[in-house]
């Protein structure tokens, strides 16, 4: 990082995902008009731009890699992009679809599809960083517009983007929410989850389900023991940890979370 980007050329790519993170661009509202004067959007299928041949300054990538074709396509994108930024849980960590990594591919393909011979898939759904070098990762399911604004501005000015790694609890307490685990015994994932959402769920009195992924320096074992203490069964604890980020080592905790068992 460090180069000042004059009118950066931007692409937004999609792999296995729900399109929700791309919507963060379209949800920028007035700021989208402002960005459209500062950037050239070269490729953004959801918004209609489809020029694949050009070199790109900032490539945003949504979705995880699920097929051999995907794996080839992300390598091509990397070759044509100065910065490659993942947006959201799928591209950054495998996402919900990585839950299939826990099962055997043949088993679920046979069990689900009437014509399994049409299914052409890799054995796992994997994050972008397992295939090509990634310059920066935006966590979240989905990401929000504030993350995008901060990132694009910092990159345009040649500065490192600001990375949120603190626990959700920090933001929750800044907003003066009462802890739902302490007042209600709710199994809140906040103490393991990175902030960035504005402690949205606790602000409505419900427990965090970790949609922004693992924070730094977390202690999953201690939280799992606490969940046990407030009455959760091992399978319920397992499900709390294995929702969106089942593929992240930080959430694969023993004894309840070993995905290979």
């Amino acid at each position: 990082m460090g180069d000042l980007l004059q009118r950066p050329r931007v692409a937004v790519h999609k792999f296995s995902s729900c399109d929700g993170c791309q919507l963060a661009f379209l949800n920028l509202g007035e700021d989208l008009l402002s960005f459209s004067q500062q950037l050239d959007i070269i490729f953004f299928a959801e918004a209609g731009m489809m020029d694949t041949a050009q070199d790109i300054d900032i490539a945003f990538v949504e979705g995880s890699i699920s097929t051999a074709k995907d794996a080839q396509r992300i390598r091509n994108i990397r070759e044509h992009s100065h910065y490659l930024i993942t947006i959201g849980a799928c591209a950054t960590a495998g996402g919900l679809q990585a839950l299939r990594n826990i099962a055997k591919t043949d088993d679920w393909v046979q069990a689900i599809y009437t014509n399994p011979e049409h299914i052409d898939t890799l054995d796992k759904a994997s994050p972008i960083r397992e295939h090509v070098a990634v310059d920066f990762e935006l966590w979240g399911c989905p990401i929000n517009k504030q993350q995008l604004i901060g990132l694009i501005n910092n990159l345009s000015l040649g500065a490192l983007p600001f990375e949120e790694t603190d626990k959700l609890c920090m933001q929750c307490k800044r907003q003066q929410q009462a802890c739902v685990m302490v007042t209600k015994g709710s199994p809140c994932m906040g103490p393991l989850t990175r902030t960035g959402c504005g402690a949205l769920c606790p602000s409505f009195g419900r427990d965090c389900y970790a949609c922004y992924g693992p924070a730094e320096n977390i202690n999953g074992e201690a939280l799992a023991r606490r969940f046990e203490g407030i009455g959760l069964l091992p399978e319920q604890i397992h499900n709390r940890f294995h929702a969106i980020y089942s593929n992240e080592a930080a959430f694969q905790i023993s004894p309840i979370g070993n995905k290979k068992s």
Binding site: Q38, K173, C179, V182, T183, I218
Partner: protein
């Protein structure tokens, strides 16, 4: 201070009226999100009616009682801290002018005169510590100072300490002794009133006060003694300041780290913790930026990030930093411990780590070395 008189419960709203007449915005306890929460108060009907709190390590529940009192609980997660050292604020803004030069402007908001009703002795002790930190240094913190001078402090003596309270042991309560404008003692029919400032006097003059009887005064004395007796937690005897300095290599830190989530809840609810971080939030058009200060914690990685490395890269170092600073380092900096015995860090720790238990274990280890 001597008693100014007795305010009947039915006349409590005349206190709010008096404060509103002075132009003050009233803040007081209400039941919100299953806990006692301080918010804007316009009527005594918002006060907790027939409510008790039950606190334990990592545990807070409210229950209803038949008692007619409004302050029959210990505390909630907040103290005075969020009103003076606010959790998130814009310190200044920068803007690029038409010639491309940066212009800086202070973000000076004039805070309203704010009367806080229901302040406890522990809260006042913590406020005095925050004053020391933000006001008594070489440079005053102007954002803090502006809010601080607009506070009217209406204390209510604590008669229902929680199972996590140890303010008697820390020397900060439960009886309010100083630094208030008005002090109330709650009895069944109403409130005994004391005043300790010109502002307090001004408010008293607006109140319809009855004479206080001797038996009421006795009841107040007994309530305070009972509040002391009810406190079961206490700090270890002996020189904690020295003990903690000598225990930096203790194995206890790792034992705590196996339970600790490093989530920072203890520091956020601690009424004396003052750490903060700053960052900039640029607007989408790259033409302006806001410089933001927000609560930080010695449990975050940014707290010990210095020149390419995080010094406290493991939880045991972060917890050690917190405990050692609070109970040892503060003596050197501020002449006393940083703990006022409110017990919030015990209640609001999601995994229920009890600071008094850890201090006893460490003190014992020091005695045995």
């Amino acid at each position: 201070m001597s008693f100014r008189g007795f305010l009947l419960r039915d006349h409590f709203d005349t206190l709010l009226t008096a404060l509103h007449k002075l132009g003050a915005h009233c803040v007081g306890p209400t039941v919100m999100d299953d806990s006692i929460h301080y918010t804007t108060l316009t009527s005594s009907t918002q006060l907790p009616q027939q409510v008790h709190d039950h606190q334990g390590p990592g545990h807070y529940r409210l229950s209803t009682s038949t008692e007619s009192r409004w302050f029959a609980w210990a505390n909630g997660a907040q103290a005075l801290k969020p009103l003076v050292f606010v959790p998130q604020e814009i310190l200044w803004r920068s803007e690029r002018d038409s010639e491309g030069n940066l212009q800086f402007s202070n973000s000076k908001q004039e805070p309203p005169l704010t009367a806080v009703i229901g302040v406890r002795a522990c809260d006042l002790a913590a406020l005095a510590l925050q004053d020391q930190h933000f006001l008594d240094g070489l440079e005053q913190d102007s954002a803090y100072a502006r809010r601080r001078q607009q506070l009217i402090l209406i204390a209510v003596n604590c008669t229902h300490p929680s199972a996590n309270c140890f303010c008697h042991s820390s020397g900060d309560g439960p009886e309010v002794k100083q630094d208030y404008d008005l002090l109330l003692d709650e009895l069944d029919d109403g409130f005994a009133v004391r005043s300790a400032s010109p502002m307090g006097e001004k408010i008293c003059q607006q109140l319809q006060l009855e004479a206080l009887t001797n038996s009421q005064q006795d009841e107040i004395k007994h309530a305070n003694l009972r509040a002391i007796e009810q406190q079961t937690k206490h700090l270890p005897e002996g020189n904690l300041e020295q003990a903690l300095k000598n225990l930096q290599g203790s194995g206890r830190w790792q034992q705590i780290a196996e339970r600790c989530l490093s989530c920072g809840n203890c520091t956020a609810v601690c009424p004396s913790c003052f750490c903060h971080s700053q960052h900039d939030e640029p607007a989408a058009n790259s033409m302006s930026s806001a410089h933001i200060r927000q609560w930080d914690s010695c449990f975050s990685h940014g707290h010990s990030y210095i020149h390419g490395m995080v010094i406290h890269n493991e939880t045991r170092f972060r917890y050690r930093q917190w405990l050692t600073h609070k109970f040892s380092g503060w003596f050197e900096q501020y002449g006393r411990s940083g703990c006022v015995g409110c017990g919030r860090c015990i209640t609001w720790c999601p995994v229920g780590i009890d600071v008094t238990e850890e201090l006893h274990a460490l003190a014992e280890e020091y005695d045995n070395v």
